[in-house]
Symmetry: C2
Subunit: 313 residues, 2 copies
């Protein structure tokens, strides 16, 4: 009997952000899609990370990731290079934001190279990078059991054909509502979802920030996961990546073929991790919590959505 | 044993709208908060309506309401008067709208007068009218078991003291998210809800349109009801009033003290009726459906939100 836990590989950005919110500023806030994803997913499964940083990347984050059980053999450090940096300001509603500066630095020429032993990972998440690079990643893999991916408006704009090509090979696409509208050309989310599923992905998750997330699954069913109403949102950065981490992490931890039922529970795990993420800057909260906190919050989601199935007649 | 079903009284506007959406126009679309409320609530309980119309009000709507079991003794027709008219245009997202014209007409001097036999109604919903008029209504009542109310930004602006006075006497306030922020002065909805509950209402429902609704109950619990993802929204007008009708109607139909559990099921009934409302202009869809359709859609909400409570460790 093979008791080895299935490994989840994530490929994506690793960044140092400069975050300005109406209430506070964090100048060196370690972020990036792969960082948030890995920290969130590490509660559920062993994680392997492929990314690139410069010499300025803090050793403390490397330590935090390792302490969380994240395998960093795939994290490349470019000698003399600087880490991808992003500076942004959140508006009063803590939902809209304005990008002030973007410096791709070493991320500009990122060519994901998978360490040999990563190639047999059973679960793969393609973070938001150029679609041709995403394709290059799964072509380096042996045969992952399940592939999830994210993308962004930029690639929908300038690399649509490559993106659609990748979509045909993924089990779950996780994007936000604006991206879903842009990718499909449909204002209505249900129509948008149907159009996107016809492009290839077997399941689609549409993230709606403070309004939660919708799953459109391969059976044609829809599942609505709420966001947890929070009294204090410190920094929304990374919420979507933490969602993806909780979602994919749960699937990898289960190690089963993702039925509708398992995908639904994974949606709640994603919502749980997103809710922790936004309670602090960077991955501060994801580092502080333990699996008991995750379970407790999962149970809060259960209570938040529970109602009695009634006979109305 | 008294087997009489508890009656639900609604007081509010009755209007003729002129609705322009990106796809269609309806010039004489009968609306108003009391109309939508009554049509939605009539599936669950006997309804009594207090409102005012002019001589231009269509006899067909009077017939529709009566056919739905709505008692119209309280609907006053002003000889020579014209019904409240509103004209508005919905934007491409079908969420935002611009008011093009408002003619209060007979609604301007509306003074709700309750027929004698209405005064013993056990359930009361105060639709969105001037707070002093709302107060005048419940002062005409004997002792309703449960009072719900709605309001709007105008009254929060110009009649805040009267509004807060009324709030101290209601069991459930149903408002939208922008109104909640305005009434409380808090951007964060959880903080806004807490501040509003301190003003008096025992429970608070915050409606969020296509994102569903939140219940903050007297036990300090939160319940999140999603909106049904719909492929076609014809006209959002009246969604909030139909929600309130389904919500209050279910409570009246149950005839029990509203515990957290009953309020949650009522939230879903509200969401069900709102989802039907927006599928057509005016109350077209609410007239077409039967209780079996309501039950079927209720079950769809159950499926939409169902997930397995998992042990994550």
């Amino acid at each position: 009997m093979n008791t080895k836990r299935p490994e989840l590989l994530v490929v994506g950005s690793v960044a140092i952000d400069w975050i300005i919110t109406p209430k506070a500023v964090r100048e060196e806030s370690v972020g990036g899609s792969a960082t948030y994803f890995a920290m969130a997913a590490s509660f559920f499964a062993p994680i392997r990370l492929v990314g690139v940083v410069g010499e300025d990347f803090p050793a403390s984050t490397v330590q935090d990731l390792k302490s969380s059980g994240v395998d960093l053999e795939g994290l490349e450090t470019i000698t003399g290079g600087k880490t991808f940096r992003w500076k942004g300001r959140y508006h009063d509603n803590m939902n809209d934001r304005t990008t002030l500066e973007t410096h791709l630095n070493v991320f500009e020429h990122f060519q994901p190279k998978l360490p040999e032993r990563y190639r047999s990972s059973e679960y793969l998440f393609l973070g938001n990078i150029q679609p041709t690079l995403q394709r290059g990643v799964y072509e380096q893999m042996q045969r992952p059991r399940l592939i999830g991916m994210d993308t962004m408006n930029l690639w929908i704009d300038i690399a649509r054909d490559e993106l659609v090509n990748v979509l045909g090979n993924v089990d779950v696409l996780t994007i936000n509502d604006e991206e879903a509208r842009q990718l499909s050309g449909e204002d209505n989310l249900v129509k948008a979802a149907r159009a996107i599923l016809e492009l290839g992905p077997r399941n689609l998750v549409i993230k709606r920030g403070e309004y939660g997330a919708l799953l459109f699954d391969s059976d044609g069913d829809i599942f609505a996961a709420p966001a947890l109403p929070l009294e204090e949102v410190v920094d929304p950065t990374g919420a979507g990546d933490s969602f993806a981490g909780g979602f994919m992490g749960y699937l990898a931890g289960q190690g089963v073929e993702p039925s509708g039922s398992v995908l639904r529970t994974a949606m709640i795990c994603g919502s749980v991790m997103a809710s922790f993420c936004v309670e602090g800057f960077s991955y501060d909260r994801l580092r502080e919590i333990a699996i008991d906190d995750v379970q407790e919050r999962f149970d809060r989601f259960a209570k938040l959505t529970d109602f009695t199935r009634a006979s109305l007649a």
